[in-house]
Each structure stands twice: as C-alpha cells, then as structure tokens.
Symmetry: C2
Subunit: 330 residues, 2 copies
C-alpha cells in the first residue's frame, strides 16, 4: 500500500479525554467523512448518583461535534447549572460537576443500558444524534475501572482526578475488572482491517488514558499485530504535560520525564513517535523513528495540522517498512 | 376536647398535587410550627428515564417551601430547561417536562431509594432540606399505581394526565398493586392520635388524588375510625373544578357534577363538607353538615383563610359530636 493510499484509508485513533480529543478533532476534520474511528478509554467511567457516567466518551462526542466548552475543556458549551445548585440544596454529592445539558447524556445512557443496549450501541446512537460521521468506540462495554494507588490507599479514578485534583502521589495504577473485560469487537476489526491507513495514539495520559485501553485483554496483541503503521503523539512538551498530570505521575513513578520514556512505554506497539519542536534535542534518544513538529494545539488549525503531520509521518513509516521488501523483490 | 383545643392540636391533611397543595400551604401557614402532617398521594408516581418521580410529593414540597412555580402551578420557580433540550437532541422522551432543578429531586430520590432508604425517609430528608416544619408523608412506600381506564384501554396515570392531557374519556379508575401496598404507619399513627385536631381532605381530585390514598389497605378503616373530625373541601365551584379534570371525570363516570355527589363519594368518612359560596344553593342537598365559604384560592391570604375556616368548621362539628355526650353526663 502506497503512502497516498494510507492517507486515504480509514484511521483509528486511541484517546482519553481532553488532550487526546483535541487531536481526534484534528483527525476528524482532516480526514474524509466516515474515515475516522476513535477507540475511547472507559476506565474513567463510574456510577455516580445512580447514573452511568462516561467522561472520556462524552468529551470526544462534545469535541468532535463542536459542542464542547472551550473555557473549561470539559463539559458542554452554553451549559447551565441549576441541577447542581438544587442537588447541593438537597445535600447531594456535588464534587463531580454535572451540567444540566451534560446530565441528559448520563440519564439517557443509563436508561438505555438499563433497557439492555450495549455501551457501544449507546455511543453509536449518541454519535448519530450529534451528527458525527465518525465511529466512537468504547474500548469495552464491560466494567474495567482505573484505580490510582497512593500512599493513603487506592482511589477510584474520579476520586483521584476530580475530587482530589490529582494531588496524591501516585504509586501505581491498576485496572479493576480488566481480566474479565472483553474488547470492543469493532476495535479489533478496525485493527485487523487491511485497508487501515494508520493508528494514532493521541497525546492522552499514557498511564491513565491509554493504558486502560491496552489493559483490555486482546487489545495489546491486536495493536501489535496491526498491519497499519502505529504512531503516538507525545503528551510531553519541554518536560511537562500540556494538560493533566502525565509529567507528575511519571516523576512519582520514578520514570524519566522524557519523550524517550514515552516511546519506551509504548515499546513494541508503535512505529514512530511525534514530539514537539521544543524537545527536538531528545529525538536522537528515542528508540523509534521520531517526527519533530508543533504539538501544542491552540487553534483548530493547529489540531488539523498536527493530525496531517502525524498521518503523513505514519504513511512515510509505512513506506519505509515496505521498502526493504520492495528492494528484496526487485 | 374543646373546639379551642382542636384548633391547637395537630392536623392531618390528605392531598394530591396542585389544587390540594394550595390548601396544604394555607394549613401550614395557619397552624403552629410542627402541627401539620400531609398524607400525599403517590399513585401518580412513576419510573421515567430510570428515575423515580413523585409528582405530588414534589408539588407539596415546592408549595409549602415557597419554591413552586406560580406561573405553571407545577415545578419550581426560577427553573431552567437545558436538560430537556439536550435530551430532545438525543432523541429521548420529552413528553414529561423535567426542569433542571426539579431533576435534582428525582435523581437524588432514585439514588437514595436504590441505596435502601424508604420513600418516607427520603421525603422526611427532603422536607428538612427544604426547611419545612411539616411532615410530608407518602401514603405508602409500595408501588400503588393509578390506572385510568378509557375506551381505548388502560393508561398509566401520567400518560393520561400529561401525555394525553386528560382528553380520553374515563370509564373507570383502578389502583394497580393496591392489595399489596402497606399504609405509611406514620399516617395510621396520626389518624389514631387522640390529640389530633382535625383531618382535612384537600380539594384534590377525589378520583385521581384522594381515592389512591383511600385504596391503600387499612387507610379507609383508619380514617373512618379517626377520633378527630374529618372535613373535606369540595374541588367543585359552580359545577366545575377549579383545576384539573374532576368535573369532566364525574360526568364521564355518570356521576352528577354536584357537591352532594362529592359528599356521597366520601360517605362514611367525612363529618362535613366545605363548599363555595357559588354553590350555596346545593348546601341543603348534602348529606353531611356543610360550610359555605370562599373556596377559590387566588392569594396566600385566600389559602390561609380557607384553612382557618375548614379547621374552625371541624372544631365546631367536633363540638356538636361531643355535645350529646356532655348533655348526657350533665
């Protein structure tokens, strides 16, 4: 398959919430309609107030449909907060902020799951309703829950991330229920598709957003066996994470806060790493081919440009992978 | 017990939603703090969007706390509707309008019931949170559901009342689950309390709001055996209901749309009926003592005045009941 074909083929992105969704939006806008599938982390999902909440899926839905809140980075644009105020007056739990419009997704998702629909079916229905021509694929429909270990004991993800504001020191991350979780078959099919153009691991937190996806049994093997090139976009810029606690967690886990460490984290899975110009000096230390470009996404144009660069890089890597074969054959 | 003692004693009101809650508010404001208990219809309760909704209880909570919406008569003041708009965009069911603030009660109630609290406990907790010094007592914590029968078949209450706007002809009303429903023991205790000053049946729909309460096993007997005087306030004025389909249903059921028919409906349960000045000509036809007064409640003062009149009437009836005994003793 030529680089040009690769660029036209379907693309699978792996992502978590805010940071990763930015690049997913770039890919969505860059690619032809229907070409993008997004495998989304559901390790952050939790039951709260009796509702099934899928924060990363909702962030991807809002971001791709342009209904996200640009000020907060999470939740919806034009949101109101009457529910939260009324819940507080009733003495309910308010540490997890649920906007009135956002709540519609949680209530309707919970209702549909209770009526027997799968999480995949709910995601597909919501994506259609949001007018998206992309497939939003939860990594699994089974409960796989990210647990953050701290010196004071384990914390469910949202307790760590939202209630404790990522302040506790992380001593490890585990995934409760991982053994029994079944991978979303649509993701496995996408990964095995000979026409697949590329897999892009978005600049989400490797430990909290991508590792849960890889923890689903079968996912790591399917990604490793994928015929298409796999590139990751590093979430680090100048030794810091653009968004979220990636750098803090790496330091707490005793991992060097470097792009080489990000590449090592994805060892055996990725064919190349995209890193920021600010870190060009690190390129030589990285075990896989590296593309140095602008990875900080401020505008929509930044998102699209990074998506195009990552896909071009993937196509180029694929050409290189194919090259020896062609030479051998010629 | 003298009329004056009766007026000071605790009072139990029976009511449904909007119309009845107006008089409950009058009683609440007229009586001493802590003196009012309200036995509320839960035959309208239903599961919707996975939530346990108790429309009449919420109307009583909002009305007594002054947080009701004076324009609609239902729901909360200062409400927003972002949830409903977002739910509609998702293709969810929107025929039952749930305001953003109102939703907090449904979500928190459902959560608490799921955690094992009783409906009574939830009501008590909400009443405290609303700052109420009155007891809001659901008639039962068990599922007793009002079913409205029509020529096209039976309809769950809210489908008849909200979705079909009371348009279908009513051929009968039944109460699914009534046999197994257990009466709220606090209501039975209130009815048996020798200190009880009066029972007031609010001008709610007798068929749709009061009958469900009376359909709870044990309730009719407890009310009939109650030592305190029981007065009902007629929901009819000039052959029409001030609010809701009472008159329409009476006509459809072949019952004369008269105050005498209202009194007959409560035969054996009430000691007196309060009716409007507009219907003074009907007073002579009523089988129980009647008080003619202003029953249309426009202002808060109207509500309090009607409450005072109904309680004064009850005290007077009680005096009459006691009178022969006193004469016999003297």
């Amino acid at each position: 398959m030529s680089p040009e074909d690769r660029l036209r083929g379907p693309v699978l992105a792996l992502c978590g919430g805010i940071g990763g969704a930015k690049l997913a939006l770039g890919l969505y806008r860059h690619l032809a309609p229907g070409a993008l599938s997004v495998a989304v982390n559901t390790g952050d999902d939790f039951e709260h107030l009796g509702l099934h909440i899928s924060p990363d899926i909702d962030t991807v839905l809002y971001t791709l449909s342009g209904t996200d809140n640009p000020d907060t980075g999470w939740g919806r644009a034009d949101e109101t907060w009457t529910f939260m105020a009324a819940l507080e007056a009733l003495g309910g739990e308010t540490w997890f902020r649920l906007g009135d419009g956002d709540l519609a997704l949680h209530v309707e998702r919970t209702r549909r799951l209770g009526a027997g629909e799968s999480l995949s079916e709910v995601c597909a229905a919501f994506a259609r309703r949001f007018g998206l021509d992309a497939r939003i694929l939860p990594m699994t429909g089974d409960p796989l829950r990210t647990v953050v270990h701290t010196p004071d004991g384990p914390l469910p993800f949202q307790h760590y991330f939202v209630r404790e504001r990522c302040e506790p020191r992380v001593t490890g991350v585990t995934f409760a229920g991982a053994e029994a979780a079944r991978p979303n078959p649509e993701i496995l099919r996408a990964l095995a598709d000979p026409a697949l153009g590329a897999v892009v691991i978005c600049p989400s937190n490797p430990y909290l957003s991508i590792d849960p996806i890889l923890a689903v049994p079968g996912m790591r093997i399917a990604l490793g066996a994928c015929p298409a090139p796999v590139v990751a976009v590093s979430p680090l810029v100048g030794g810091r994470a653009v968004k979220g606690p990636t750098a803090k967690i790496m330091a707490e886990l005793g991992v060097p806060v470097t792009n080489a460490a990000i590449a090592a984290h994805y060892e055996g899975l990725i064919d190349g790493l995209v890193l920021d110009r600010a870190d060009r000096a690190e390129a030589a230390e990285i075990a896989v081919p590296a593309l140095v470009t602008e990875t900080v996404m401020t505008s929509l144009e930044d998102r699209i440009a990074l998506a195009a660069a990552a896909l071009g890089f993937a196509a180029e890597l694929d050409g290189r992978r194919d090259a020896p074969t062609r030479e051998a054959a010629g």
